[in-house]
Amino acid sequence: MGALNIIVTVKQVPDTHNISVDAMKEDGTVNRALLPTIFNPEDLNALEEALKVKDQLGGKITVITMGPPKAIEVLKDSLYRGADEAILISDRKFAGADTLATSYSLKCAIEKLGKYDIIFCGRQAIDGDTAQVGPQIAEKLKINQITNIINVEEVTHESITLRRQTEYGQEIVKSRFPVLITVTAEANEPRFPSVKRVMMFKNITKKETEESYDETYLKIDTDRSKKYITEWSADSIGADSIKIGLAGSPTKVKHIEKVVLTANSKNMQDIPNTEVGICALINELKNEHIFG
């Protein structure tokens, strides 16, 4: 039985929990330069599930991200937490990609990697909240996909059984490999970086390579200088230039509206802390369809 090959797709996103007043530019777009960036939270959950599978069955975890050079930070963080290999897909030609162009680019990189059994993705990223990239990758690779995972029930060398959350309840689904899985925050509490791995990889650099993916050259060696984060360009993954970046993105932003929510003080009223007062409030909320 061969060792499992696991891929995790990750994304560096603006930290939406720490948004300051200057986070928006005049034109209403996000001022990324001013926002601190973080590891997209549900991608950490995806990585954790991959690590749990590896803890149990062994195997190799390759983490891929598409982004600017700075996105190497999430790859390093992935290595700290236990990933074996990291690949940065970075190219000016990828700029302005929507979900369709992103999933196409990731698909090209995954095909270049070759063999894989499981692809773990976070359900969605906190900057766009679309939850489209994972499913689109699966469609393009023509493999099974199971989304909204809240628990891995069982995993073997041939298949995985998962509990997924749906609008109406929960389902238990089993799939043979290869399969793409999107993981939700509910699935786990991600582990922290390993101190030893931080000490090992903190000075790791990236290396552009047009060569095909070569495991022997990436093999971890006592000579630290030999471990790199691989960087692939649009050309090296053989991406069709009209399907990537802005050109490959049918999503066009027509208009951005700044919505400022303010309480209308005229409508403010004190609710007496009595049964009658609270019942009246509940009724009003029901009538306004705020409560189901």
Partner: protein, 571 residues
């Protein structure tokens, strides 16, 4: 959510200002590990950077993962059923997350998969763990028994046990106390017998054994027949099997997550550590000194947690139309608490550094026996200093820590007495720190020799030689008076030339030594930073009258307590 390293300006101050060159030089020995070990540092700056990154991860785990579980761990506690002990769920999860982060074998050499961390950085980690969950510190801190195996075990024992500790595969315990051997460990009765086949077997009962359910225990036992004192005791490594039963666990005031076991050995096979008869005099003393330093850090961490709760509450709570923080009585308490914390931290790191240098020199001597004569004097100096500072730090931090927790409840008023706020938990957890690993009274017994021998004064000379106190003339005048008071008190008692006087005044002398040492250490920090200078000023201004009053009492030759206590107590 907070990171217990990044949110603690005082730890960061020490990290940034501490000169670790000597320690790193001893610990890393020309960075030879970097040739064989991938996570080993390349130079001094790289080592410091590794320490910082480690502390940030520990801060993240303790603040964001362990602390949120602590209340439930306290409520559920470790439980006992059918001869087995189960940790609370939160405890299990915390151990697992620390294990995955490679934080269960911090001080072990890299050769055995450890992180080769000096005690100074380890003390910072232990403080953070204790701030998050005091009871977890006991379990994490007990990984220290691996240090004792590392120091005194055979190559074979080290290879078999140490990597498992470093990976967090096994947890440890030290089985010393018995029903009739508490502070007086010379009275240990548990029997170790060697069979003709050469194997050792244990028979007897140990009590109050923290984490007695552990996979690997160091057991102090009587190996020499017909002996009654400490010289008949040896230390054994015992790996858990069916021949040891856990009879019960204690129901305690605090640290509920840490199981305190009564265990019985029924012809349980074990192995001798080091040489026979050295069990108490050498190995247990070394084991306990490490544990005492751990408690000095634990009490500080608990106090830090209680202080933060008290400050937060004082800022929120309004009475008489103002925040209670703005009442003089309250802000004085908080100021004293904060200064107590910073004094404790300074003393903890000073002690840790001394222990690091001592252990580093010892390791060096073992590695390069030909340099023995060059190293001997320095080893002797740092051994004495470690013997003095370890009990001083343990006694000081545990007593001040208890006071801080007491005052933290006081600031909360009535709600602080309820379980809705966490200060009552901190106070309960803190209460053990001045009892276990030797009560404060036992620490004073351990420290007094170094105080009366003039060792404190020698250290103070070094502080004066290494630092330019002329920049702070007023403060220096106070330091000089504290020092003179201590030296006068010591010489006064020595002139009486009887043990009873020393015994009677030992606590007072220890307090005077602590006022002096702390004032010096805080003043040294004050040379780097104006805020620290203010801390030194306030600490010293309160220490001076306390020191004077003790000198006055000692000089008065009033021994009426010694003469009259029986009639008073037994009335």
């Amino acid at each position: 959510m907070s990171n217990f390293y990044n949110d603690n300006q005082d730890i960061i101050f020490h990290m940034e200002n501490m000169d670790l060159r000597r320690i790193v030089e001893l610990k890393e020995d020309n960075f030879t590990d970097s040739k064989t070990c991938r996570y080993s540092p390349l130079d001094y700056e790289d080592t410091r950077d590794n320490y910082k990154k480690l502390l940030e991860i520990m801060g993240d785990i303790t603040g964001n993962y362990i602390a949120p579980r602590a209340t439930e761990v306290d409520q559920l506690g470790a439980t006992y059923k059918d001869g087995e002990v189960a940790y609370a769920q939160g405890t299990k999860e915390a151990i697992d997350i620390l294990k995955k982060a490679d934080l269960m074998g911090m001080t072990l050499p890299r050769k055995y998969e450890g992180l080769n961390l000096p005690k100074t950085i380890y003390s910072m980690c232990i403080e953070m763990v204790s701030r998050a969950d005091a009871s977890l510190m006991n379990l994490v801190g007990l990984q220290d028994i691996a240090d004792t195996i590392c120091k005194f075990g055979s190559e074979d024992q080290k290879a078999r046990y140490l990597p498992r500790f470093a990976r967090g595969e096994v947890m440890g315990a030290m089985a010393l106390t018995e029903p009739d051997a508490g502070s007086d460990l010379q009275a240990v009765m548990l029997k170790a017998t060697q069979n003709p086949d050469g194997n050792w077997y244990l028979n007897g009962v140990k009590r109050f054994i923290t984490n007695g359910c552990a996979d690997v225990s160091l057991v102090l036992a009587r190996s020499e027949d017909k002996t009654t004192d400490g010289r008949g005791l040896s230390l054994f490594v015992y790996e858990r099997d069916k021949n040891m039963t856990i009879r019960r666990i204690e129901h305690k005031l605090g640290i509920h997550g840490s199981p305190t076991c009564e265990i019985q050995f029924n012809n349980a096979r074990c192995e001798l550590l080091g040489t026979r008869r050295m069990g108490l005099i050498k190995y247990t003393m070394s084991l306990m000194n490490g544990a005492r330093l751990g408690i000095a850090a634990q009490s500080l961490g608990i106090a830090e947690a209680a202080y933060r709760e008290a400050l937060k509450y004082a800022k929120e709570r309004n009475q008489f139309k103002k925040k209670i923080l703005n009442f003089t009585a309250v802000y004085e308490m908080l100021t004293d608490m904060k200064i107590g914390l910073e004094a404790s931290r300074t003393l903890l790191y000073e002690t840790s550094k001394i222990v690091d240098i001592k252990e580093g020199l010892e390791e060096r001597m073992e590695k390069y026996p030909e340099r023995k004569s060059d190293l001997r004097d320095e080893i002797s100096k740092y051994t004495k200093l470690a013997g003095l500072f370890t009990p001083l730090a343990k006694a000081h931090n545990a007593e001040i820590g208890n006071k801080i927790c007491y005052d933290a409840i006081q600031i909360h008023g009535g709600v602080g007495y309820t379980t809705e706020f966490s200060v009552e938990r901190h106070a309960r957890d803190q209460r053990i720190t001045n009892i276990y690993e030797g009560t404060t009274q036992m620490q004073i017994v351990a420290a007094i020799g170094g105080i009366t021998s003039g060792l404190v004064s020698e250290r103070l000379n070094e502080y004066e030689n290494d630092n330019d106190f002329t920049k702070m003339p007023d403060l220096f005048k106070s330091l000089q008076e504290l020092r003179t008071n201590l030296e006068l008190a010591v010489s006064h008692i020595k002139k009486r030339n009887d043990n009873l006087s020393i015994e009677f005044h030992a606590r007072r002398l220890t307090e005077m030594a602590l006022y002096t040492v702390n004032s010096y250490l805080l003043s040294i920090a004050g040379l780097k930073n104006d805020r620290k200078k203010q801390i030194a000023k306030i600490y010293t201004s309160k220490a001076l009258p306390d020191s004077r009053s003790r000198l006055e009492f000692i000089s008065s030759n009033d021994y009426s307590i010694v003469e009259l206590h029986e009639g008073i107590i037994n009335h």
